[in-house]
Amino acid sequence: MQEGDLRARFRQGDPDAVREVYRSHGRLVHAVAYKVLGDRGLAEEATQQTFVKAWRAAQSFDEQRELGPWLAAIARRVAIDLYRREAVRAADPLESVAPGDSALVSTPESAEAMYDVWEVREAVAQLPPEEQEIVRLQHLDGFTHAQIAERLEVAVGTVKSRSFRAHKRLAAMLGHLRE
C-alpha cells in the first residue's frame, strides 16, 4: 500500500490501516515512550494509548503531514502523562530519598531528545540484521570488537569491517558525513 493511501485510510479511521500503521511506526512510537518512561510495561501502555488517541483524532489529520512526527508528538504527550501519573503513585517521602538520587532531578525528556531517539531508532532499523547485532553488542552491551568476535565466533577483522560498514551507513543516514 502506498504511504499516501495508507494515510488516507488511517484518516478515515479504517481499522485495517491502523494495523499497517502500527507495523510501520509501532516500534518508533514505542521507542519514544520507552525513552520517557524507561519501563517496558508502561511504554507498551503508552504505545497503545498513542494509537487509540491517534485513531480518535484521525478525522482531523492532514493527509499532507507525515504520520511519523504526528505519532511521535502524541506518544510523547501520552508518555509524559503516564510519567506524571507514575511519579504521583510512587511518591515516597522526600526524606527517604538519597540526596544524589536521580529521581530528584529527573524530568520528562525534551521534544528534541524524542526526535533524536526517533531518528537513531529509524536508522538502526534500516541496517542489515548482522550489522544491527554488532552495533547493539558494541554500544548497548559495551562489548569490544574482540569480545564480539568471540561471541559471534567470527574473526576480529570481520567484526571490524562489519562495524565500520554499519557505522558508515548510520552516519550517512543521520547526516554526519561531509557533503
Binding site: R40, D62, Q64, R65, D116, L140, H176
Partner: protein, 230 residues
C-alpha cells in the same frame, strides 16, 4: 569519501581518533550515547499489535469520540543542536497548524452546538496482564446520579464459575482499593462505583476465590487507566 569522513566513522564505531575537533567529537559522542540507550533497541511485545487493533475496533464499534490532534511537531530547522540531522520534513509546520486549527474549530462547533451538558465521562483501554496475555478490551465510566457506571467489554478471559469469579477494582494515587463489582464473564459487564473516578482512575480485575476472604487475591488479569473524555 574524505579522510575526515573515515575518521568520523571510525570514532563513531568506538575507535580512538585524534584528528577530530572537540565539537565533532561532542556531536558523535551524542550519537554514541543514543546508540547506547535501551530505548533505541527495546522491542514491544509481539501481542501489542493485536491489543491495539482490538482496542480501536472496540471503539469503532461504539462510535469514535472527538479528540483533538496534537500540536504540530517542532520544525526541525529551529533545532539548536550543533550537529546535522537529515532535515526531511519542512512541510510539516503549516500542515500541522492547519490540522490544529481544524481540530479547534471542530471542538468549538461541538461545544456551541451542544444544548445540554454531557455527563462527565472517562474511558480506557484495558489490557491483559501476564496471567491473561490475550485479554483486552475497553471501558467507559460515566457519572450518574447514583454513582459511576462502568461499562466493561473485554475478550480473552475465560468464563469463571463455581467458587471462582472476577472482581473489579478502582485504585487512587494513594493505593487505596475500592471494589466495584464481581462477575463471571467480562464480555459485557456493567459495574458501579461509589468512589469518584476522577480520583480513583486505576482499574483492575482480579481472579477471586469464594473462600470468605473479601480482600484482593492479587491475581490481576486485566488492567487499565481511566482518562477523561473531552
Amino acid at each position: 569519501m574524505s579522510t575526515s569522513d573515515d575518521d568520523r566513522i571510525a570514532y563513531l564505531s568506538g575507535e580512538a581518533v585524534d584528528s577530530l575537533s572537540p565539537q565533532e567529537q561532542a556531536e558523535l559522542d551524542e550519537v554514541r550515547g543514543l546508540l547506547a540507550t535501551p530505548a533505541t533497541w527495546e522491542e514491544p511485545d509481539a501481542a501489542l499489535e493485536d491489543r491495539i487493533v482490538s482496542a480501536i475496533a472496540e471503539e469503532a464499534r461504539r462510535g469514535r469520540p472527538v479528540e483533538s490532534a496534537p500540536a504540530p511537531a517542532k520544525p526541525e530547522t529551529q533545532r539548536t543542536r550543533g550537529f546535522r540531522w537529515p532535515f526531511r520534513r519542512p512541510a510539516l509546520v503549516l500542515g500541522g497548524l492547519a490540522t490544529a486549527a481544524a481540530a479547534i474549530a471542530v471542538a468549538i462547533v461541538l461545544a456551541v452546538g451542544s444544548s445540554s451538558p454531557a455527563p462527565l465521562q472517562f474511558a480506557m483501554v484495558v489490557s491483559g496482564t501476564s496471567l491473561a496475555p490475550g485479554a483486552h478490551g475497553s471501558a467507559t465510566l460515566t457519572k450518574m446520579n447514583s454513582g459511576w457506571e462502568i461499562q466493561l467489554s473485554a475478550t480473552g478471559l475465560p468464563h469463571l464459575s463455581g467458587s471462582r469469579y472476577y472482581q473489579a477494582w478502582l485504585k487512587n494515587a494513594a493505593g487505596i482499593l475500592v471494589p466495584v463489582g464481581t462477575f463471571n464473564d467480562a464480555e459485557h459487564v456493567i459495574l458501579w462505583s461509589g468512589a469518584p473516578v476522577t480520583q480513583f482512575r486505576s482499574f483492575s480485575v482480579t481472579e477471586q476465590l469464594a473462600n470468605g476472604n473479601p480482600a484482593s487475591s492479587g491475581r490481576r488479569v486485566l488492567v487499565g487507566v481511566a482518562h477523561p473524555v473531552h
